[in-house]
């Protein structure tokens, strides 16, 4: 089972505490890097190899999706049980505690060093995670992650998905349904075309990344708490909805909003609808999802920003019997964010945070991956972001800024993963930029070109 965990770097933490709200969002989007996880305690619980649930971790097979849909509770292993009799409650807990570990070590080098810093950085570890992942009780299971981030030098609460699941029949067709608690919009999703579990499944948290990104594309990860419900009817129609509130792990409670760019006013509704069809060698999903957030930057009262994200996604997996059941996967998504920055534009003493109230942002990404058995997988991905230019929202700054206030970035990612064992991932990844924060050359006004951020990333991941 894979986890896409945006790692908040030290720079991100500083930004959260001290800087203007929109810059905070920008920094979060720069410093949140997806980290993918698969969890062996599920394998120990089910008695099945990783490859039953994953084409390559974290990409879910139809079996893996059903395992998640059913609340992570399927097991073939001994349990401590007691029958529900009269006024006595039942019991069904695993004999083995569902604990897992991931250890990531990495190396990152950009084409040109970031000014005044070392290029070619080893992180040992980049991150290490502990998981409580498996069956808690009848119909209740979890994916709970705590991660040590070497840049922050501390453990922090990470992606969490706790769910109750059950099944019934509606109109003569099976309905799997459940209630869930989670801290990251799309972490509950079943496919790898949505942000929490999307490509790239792992990445450097040292190299610079484009400043602009939609809020649902990792901007709320681990900073919100939500409760929701979902259902899969007739194995085809998937509906899910969650409402979120700001949580601000690490911040003072009750939340005063100070120092945080996003303080959800009321609740933020997240919605998801998808259609899937699975044949013997083909699996297709098309869907939509989105979120609406009203937020007051740095406070819990006052003028509000408003963000509405609409997204469409698809995933197609083709098993090729002629090639020993190798799998070819296609995934894509488009996110449209419309925002009104009525809160950010207000001058609170440090100047306004934006030049205009109305903004939009388009995010397009697609990738194709070939799985050579369970030993190798190669992926080619394209990505692009564009939207409303704003010289205050996207200010000029060395490396991370934009000389022309344009959020446009685009490029490609090539990834090759070798799995000598199903729980060891040795990966090499290359990220290339055609345009970075608005321009191809001298994009930051300090003489840095987009291609200077081209990145080679090596990863050794051990999962046990």
């Amino acid at each position: 089972m894979r986890h896409s965990k945006p790692v908040l770097s030290a720079a991100g933490k500083i930004a959260v505490k001290n800087l203007s709200p929109i810059f905070v969002i920008a920094c979060l989007l720069i410093t949140f890097k997806p980290v993918a996880h698969a969890v062996p305690s599920y394998s120990r619980q089910t008695g099945l190899p990783c490859a039953t649930c994953h084409f390559a971790p974290p990409e879910l097979t139809p079996f893996g999706r059903k395992f998640k849909l059913d609340g992570y509770v399927f097991t073939t292993k001994p349990e401590v049980t007691d029958e529900k009799k009269g006024h006595n409650a039942a019991l069904a807990i695993l004999e083995a505690f569902p604990l897992s570990v991931i250890f990531d070590a990495s190396f990152t080098e950009t084409k040109s060093p970031q000014p005044g810093t070392q290029n070619g950085n080893f992180l040992f570890p980049q991150a290490a995670s502990l998981f409580l992942a498996g069956k808690w009780a009848s119909h209740v299971g979890s994916f709970v992650q705590v991660t040590y981030d070497s840049q922050g030098d501390h453990f922090s609460w990470d992606n969490t998905d706790i769910r109750y699941a059950n099944a019934t029949s509606v109109f003569g067709k099976p309905l799997s349904y459940g209630v869930m608690f989670n801290n990251n919009p799309t972490v509950e999703d079943l496919w790898n075309s949505t942000p929490a579990w999307g490509f790239p499944f792992t990445g450097s948290n040292v190299a610079p990344g484009p400043t602009a990104g939609a809020l649902i594309n990792g901007g709320l990860a681990q900073d919100v708490a939500g409760v929701g419900a979902y259902g899969m009817w007739n194995e085809h129609i998937y509906l899910a909805g969650t409402i979120y509130r700001s949580e601000h792990i690490g911040g003072a409670q009750p939340n005063a909003g100070t120092g945080f760019g996003i303080n959800i006013r009321g609740v933020a509704p997240y919605w998801r609808v998808a259609y899937q069809t699975v044949k013997e060698n083909n699996s297709l999903e098309v869907g939509m999802y989105g979120i609406h957030v009203k937020s007051t930057p740095n406070a819990v009262t006052g003028p509000e920003d408003s963000f509405t994200d609409w997204a469409a996604d698809f995933q197609y997996d083709r098993t090729i019997p002629q090639f020993n059941n190798d799998v070819l996967s296609f995934r894509g998504s488009y996110i449209r964010e419309n925002s009104s920055l009525a809160g950010t534009i207000v001058d609170t003493g440090n100047g306004p945070g934006a030049a205009f109230t109305r903004h939009h942002l388009n995010t397009l990404q697609g990738n194709v991956e070939y799985h050579y058995g369970t030993k190798l997988s190669g992926t080619v991905g394209l990505f692009g972001v564009n939207g409303t230019p704003d010289p205050i929202l996207f200010p000029q700054a060395a490396v991370t800024g934009s000389a022309n206030g344009d959020p446009r970035s685009n490029g490609y990612i090539l990834n090759l993963s070798w799995w000598p064992q199903q729980n060891i991932d040795l990966a090499v990844q290359y990220t290339g930029y055609w345009r970075f924060n608005g321009l191809q050359t001298n994009y930051d006004g300090a003489g840095r070109d987009a291609s200077a951020n081209n990145t080679v990333y090596l990863l050794a991941r051990f999962v046990f």
Binding site: G47, L48, P62, F63, R65, K66, T76, E235, V278, E280
Partner: protein
């Protein structure tokens, strides 16, 4: 006196029949519960293997002649030890539960 004997005999018979039927229904319910908990994920509620995960893993149709012509011992062994991509359930399910499951599988073609 004769009437009383008949009433008592009838009551005993009804009681015995009720207990017997309750036991049968209870066993069926137990078997169905075991099936739903452990087998539906791949083999689907009707045993056809037509669930998405069943299709992807090419799970057998439990109603098919191929499966139904196997002996009870063969079916029990497959459940206990696993077969192909199917995991072993021998450490989780007790022998009497596996026997109930075999009986439930036998009844699937008639449902």
């Amino acid at each position: 006196m004769r009437l009383i004997s008949r009433v008592v005999a009838a009551s005993v018979s009804i009681g015995f029949l009720t207990l017997t039927l309750t036991g049968v229904v209870s066993a069926q319910n137990d078997a169905e519960k075991i099936y739903k908990t452990n087998c539906v994920l791949c083999h689907a509620p009707d045993g056809s293997g037509s669930s998405p995960s069943g299709k992807a893993l090419k799970a057998e149709d439990l109603r098919s002649e191929l499966i139904q012509k196997k002996t009870d011992a063969e079916l029990a062994a497959a459940i206990t030890n696993g077969k192909g991509k199917m995991p072993a359930f021998g450490k989780k399910l007790k022998p009497d539960q596996i026997a109930q499951l075999v009986a439930y599988i036998r009844a699937l073609p008639k449902k």
